[in-house]
Symmetry: C2
Subunit: 426 residues, 2 copies
């Protein structure tokens, strides 16, 4: 079939690798420009990562926080979508190598490949302490958490039962704090009356943070309130508690061995391997050190954005959050536009921090706006509104709102599915 692209084969080709916040924003910002765009992603969907912890704790279904990339850009006639795995970049031939596919030539390249979790060199922990970055991670954690209650219900040994009802979350950043709050609610509310032998309200939830306080990206007074809110919900928060070891029965911290059967990793972040393909400087988390226009040294046509990149602004590295990735996506679209239309280059990229949010359960959040901050229920409403607003696609917005309204009224968790027996044994 003849396609629009074939007729415009002479237009510059922009290849975007990664359909996260950065990549999708860049593609949208290039809509209508005289370029051809190819968006490549390993999965077929854009994922609203900030709500992934809700899938992991049975509050939302995978489809509620994901939308097919094709569908997002379906009206953008200059944009093709390719579901494939990128295996390397040839910066001399200017091609993207893709598994099971011809190399794809580019004129401009936007790398927005995100990050995975890092175990700080202890990769053997990954088996017993899965991290939370993809839908598959989330449904796997959901099966493990729900199965722990099922197994505890039938456990005959009291010690085993207590280990099954102990959940340890490693890392006191926003993801760790949100997970701890959500598991507390799941245990103490949604599951409270469903079991006969165990009382899920007696579940022990530990949040371990290596540093002196949780939520270190927030001002201390807000982090303290969040810490207090977690304790109110029954979460035991331990700071200055770097993990020494993890196995399938326990976590060791400060030379204490804590018996537990479910550990979730929310600590380290490691950028995708993109940086290694370019032979450019990277930081300790493998993030590419980009130039002020977000390109890499000697390659003004290659841009790296989002969690794959690092840039220092006012003496601090930019935070790895969705708004930063989106602003960068918009910015590189502007730079490419200036090349293509032979216009003046935009001024160096500057991240505008519009505020920072974290939520603890369904009543409490903290919001930091630099000059001032708020906490409690008003901050939670703000968090709710912003997250619903930014969910891609109206359908998701509507259903997530309805689902949350319902869950808020009833404390139910609708997505409590275990499809595999022995999900916890592998």
């Amino acid at each position: 079939m003849a396609s629009t692209q074939d007729q415009n084969a002479s237009l510059p080709h922009v290849v975007i690798v990664g359909g996260g916040f950065g990549g999708i924003t860049a593609a949208r910002a290039l809509n209508g420009m005289p370029v051809r765009i190819t968006m490549i992603d390993k999965t077929n969907h854009h994922l609203f990562q900030p709500l992934l912890y809700q899938v992991a704790t049975a509050g939302l279904s995978p489809a509620d926080i994901a939308a097919p990339i094709r569908h997002i850009v379906r009206k953008q006639k200059n944009t093709k979508v390719l579901m494939a795995e990128v295996t390397g970049i040839d910066t001399v031939a200017k091609t993207v190598q893709v598994a099971d596919h011809q190399p794809i030539p580019y004129d401009y390249l936007i790398m927005a490949t995100g990050a995975r979790h890092s175990y700080f060199g202890k990769e053997q922990w990954s088996e017993n302490a899965p991290g939370l970055k993809t839908l598959t991670d989330a449904t796997r954690i959901r099966e493990r958490v729900l199965s722990a209650f099922e197994e505890a219900e039938t456990a005959e040994d009291e010690r085993v039962r207590q280990e099954l009802l102990t959940f340890v979350i490693v890392g006191g950043g926003p993801t760790g704090a949100e997970l701890a709050g959500a598991i507390a609610e799941l245990a103490k509310r949604a599951l409270a009356s469903d079991f006969r032998h165990i009382d899920p309200r007696r579940t022990k939830i530990l949040l371990l943070e290596a540093g002196p306080r949780i939520l270190s990206g927030f001002p201390e007074y807000l982090a303290k309130r969040a810490h207090h809110a977690l304790e109110e919900m029954g979460v035991e928060v331990r700071t200055d508690s770097a993990v020494q070891d993890i196995d399938d029965m326990s976590v060791t911290v400060a030379f204490e061995r804590i018996g537990c059967r479910t550990v979730i990793w929310a600590a380290g972040v490691l950028a995708s391997p993109a940086g290694q393909w370019f032979d450019v400087p990277t930081d300790k988390n493998r993030r590419v050190q980009v130039l002020p226009d977000l390109s890499i040294p000697n390659h003004p046509e290659i841009f790296v954005i989002g969690d794959t990149a690092t840039l220092t602004q006012d003496g601090k590295p930019l935070p790895g959050v969705a708004p930063a990735a989106m602003q960068q996506g918009n910015y590189v679209a502007n730079v490419i536009r200036s090349y293509v239309l032979h216009r003046e280059r935009p001024a160096p990229f500057r991240y505008k921090d519009k505020g920072n949010l974290a939520t603890i359960g369904r009543r409490f959040a903290i919001a930091d706006f630099g000059k001032f901050g708020i906490s409690g229920f008003p901050a939670w409403l703000l968090w709710l509104g912003i997250h619903i607003y930014f969910l891609v696609g109206f359908r998701n917005r509507f259903f997530v709102l309805a689902q949350w309204a319902w869950a808020y009224l009833t404390y139910e968790r609708g997505a409590r599915l275990i499809t595999k027996l022995n999900a916890r044994k592998r």
Copy 2:
């Protein structure tokens, strides 16, 4: 912890194996009776199987058609739920054998373990032609169907592309007809504008039926209308077409080899192995031939219901549908009640056929009420209302309704997720 059960350990113990329509109905009907109930299932959820094809075709999420069994019976103080796999029954010792668990003694046993698909001795087809009985089956089929379009988009060989865009459904019963209609809508509506190289509207959908007509459980005039409705939607229906062979590239039927990369099996049904544990007569589909009170010979305390059982009424075997299983669940609860309360036994079981429904896409259904039948949009509305009404749990009802209303207005399919690259290769 002391539980209600422990105090009532002297009450008769009813073990229900299987949390489908039959098992759940039996448990509910025994609510408040002076018995202890243990419900055992391999998964943690009751599944609304009649809508499974909607999950397989990205119209609904798994959680929309499933509810945790614990949650369904949470207010039933006499009922325990055990997530475990039953491996056998000892009818002499009167115990249920369970993997990783002590044998469970019973006074009354209700086997409601359902059925899987049968490949009529061609088990090697199962790899290339998965069937649709569980949520895992449904999400696997969803990934395969969606991935076929993704692969077709990048296929460089025109023949391969056409094979990827050919979908064959084997079996012209309600599941096959519903799947064919839903795939036609997915391709011709939801995906129509999302691709650049392929036109999903040119998707070929074949429904193969070995018998002389599809929907043989319905009167001929209604089946004919459904056949016509499928053809209107672009489905090619072939009757008298028994499949001779299936491999990963083709289906062979009437000595014609049809190149296709996605085959779905909706043909045979094989009861769970329960029948073999009892040493009682079974039919060719392994269903237990039960007595008029749904018990098995020489064991008035053992009942077999739903798709695991077969019973002849007015010269015909009962249909393997949800209403039959539910009526049987209610009936055996009544029999057990009569034993426990020393009352008169109920009259032999009689299935009351309240009508039979099948739907083709989102505008057309057929409904058979014995003396008369209806078809078209009114039948579809009836189908919609009945299915929403029977969905277990208010939450599901509300969200399924909202989601369908939305999908009906927009032709969108919200659950279009592919989480694994190369989902089609194994």
